[in-house]
Amino acid sequence: MLVGAAIAAETVRLQRVQIESRLLAELPDDTAADPVLVRFAVSQARPLFAQHCAPCHGANMRGNPALGAPDLTDSVWLYGDGSVYEIERTILYGVRSGRSKTRNVTDMPAFGQRGLLTDGQIRALVQYLLKLDGRPHQAEAADEGRALYYGAPNCGDCHGSDARGDSDYGAPDLTVNVWNSGGDPQSLYDSIYFGRHRIMPAWRGTLSLEQIRALALYVHTVSHSPARLAAGAPEE
């Protein structure tokens, strides 16, 4: 009986090693098309996520505005296009982690603290952002904000002339009403006033390559789940 149990355990271990090898041997974006790999990655990544990622991104993966940790269940991505490859790069090298390959082209300047914009100007910009999101806003202030957007602070340099952001820079899309640090007017004000310089640690060296690949595939799967895509909302 003991021998049988040992053989069974060894078989399971070998199968696992085989799937792990396949998980890494495939190109990152190709793994999402293999249901066996997806199932395996999800089973491996859930406890990893709970241990390493949930403290910032939340146990339900919906993010944490206080920390600026994004919601991972939606289809809006600060960096990249939400592909397994791009998610994996972010996990490998982090955001402003101090590593040379980290995502760190720019960050949101502290326009208010630096005295580059006055209090009134920032409030006007907030109204413009609310307008971009299709939310209730003050029309006159929003017009002033629009002029500022294309004026001296030149928000379009990073956020684009169409305000749709730039995933190469990590500049968010301002038109989809998805805000990592909170979308209420006060939070928007604080973002412009204090700037945002969120960091995500680099996990290469802390987690194995298999674990990182599994996490990337897991996050990709959750964010692209059919239920969410059909209903237009994240899967619970």
């Binding site: 792990e20 090898s21 396949r22 998980l23 890494l24 041997a25 190109l27 990152p28 974006d29 490859y85 994996e88 790069r89 490998l92 402003r96 982690s97 101090g98 590593r99 040379s100 390959k101 960050d107 502290a110 603290q113 630096r114 005295g115 580059l116 204090f194 700037g195 945002r196 310089h197 969120r198 960091i199 390559l209 298999e210 690949r213």
Partner: protein, 318 residues
């Protein structure tokens, strides 16, 4: 027939073993087990497993260079950067070229380590030190200062936030012992200069004073508006110290300098002033961040020093 003494010894040994084991038929088994265990323990202590070089590229890597892997993800990123297209759209030739370059780079890095470049090359040392400092400073980026902290920093470093002053000044000099004043002493020149100052303060013009008292323009300043630091350079410390205290239209007392007795006539004076917080806050923000980064670097060095064994040669200090 063995000698009695030997037979006795045999019996004693057997009894000893029997006493220890209580099972006479195990008298050979136990020593054999002991030897076998001893050999296993010796093998563990005397040998270690050899590190077998990896003969196949592990999954997740695109190449191994002297057992050091090049990550598939890095290869994809590099290819996309160099070709400005997505990886799937790159040609095999483009991928081959990028991989070739990455392997060359890895070989050069490994060669640099073998040559101990961090020891011998200043640029490598500087880059390594900067990279370590970048890692130390990275976590601070997420900690945005509050306005109160910025204000406190500004208050503690006010003197840094001064705007530059300017002045428009005439520097008149009465040379002592020159051709026309061959017998004139310094004291006499000072007396003459005092008279000239009185006249100027009474409304006389500079030209009048120059004509009647023998003053000339020193040539140190060009009588236009100058920034304070430039005026200091031109006038010299002694004259600048006096000029910086004059206000618009004021005339200085005579000042004895190396080339004669000077009188300064201030046309316009805009003294330096400390910028208020709203004006200076951009600079204050940058300086605050720099100060925090510097503190983090110093703390890191303090920790490194506390863990290091540093010996100085006799007579050396730091």
């Amino acid at each position: 027939m063995p000698p009695p003494i030997i037979a006795t010894e045999r019996r004693l040994t057997s009894e000893l073993i029997r006493t220890l084991t209580r099972r006479p038929q195990r008298s050979w088994a136990l020593p054999a087990c002991s030897v076998a265990l001893g050999l296993i323990a010796a093998a563990c202590g005397l040998f270690r497993p050899a590190v077998r070089p990896v003969s196949a590229v592990p999954p997740g890597y695109v190449a191994l260079v002297n057992q050091k892997g090049i990550l598939m993800s890095d290869f994809i990123a590099q290819t996309q950067t160099e070709t400005s297209t997505s990886f799937a759209d790159t040609t095999p030739a483009e991928r081959d070229r990028v991989l070739h370059e990455m392997i060359d780079e890895e070989l050069l890095v490994q060669r640099g380590l073998v040559l101990d470049l961090p020891e011998t090359t200043t640029e490598v040392r500087d880059t390594m030190a900067s990279a370590v400092n970048a890692q130390v400073e990275a976590p601070l980026l997420a900690i945005a200062p509050t306005d109160a902290q910025l204000h406190a920093f500004y208050d503690a470093h006010r003197a840094k936030y001064t705007t530059g002053g300017t002045m428009t000044v005439h520097d008149l000099v009465l040379h002592v012992g020159g051709y026309e004043n061959a017998d004139q002493s310094v004291a006499q020149a000072e007396t003459d200069a005092a008279d000239a100052v009185y006249q100027l303060r009474s409304g006389a013009s500079i030209d009048y004073v120059m004509e009647h008292f023998g003053f000339v323009d020193s040539g140190r300043v060009d009588n236009t508006e100058e920034l304070d630091f430039a005026a200091q350079l031109h006038l010299g410390a002694k004259l600048y110290a006096v000029a910086s205290e004059l206000s618009d239209g004021e005339i200085s007392d005579p000042i004895v300098d190396s080339d004669g007795v000077h009188v300064l006539v201030m046309d316009q004076r805009r003294p330096p002033r400390i910028a208020d917080f709203p004006t200076a806050r951009n600079q204050v923000y940058s300086d605050y961040r720099d100060a925090e980064n510097r503190r983090a670097r110093e703390e890191n060095l303090r920790i490194l020093r506390s863990e290091a064994t540093i010996l100085l040669a006799p007579g050396e200090s730091e």
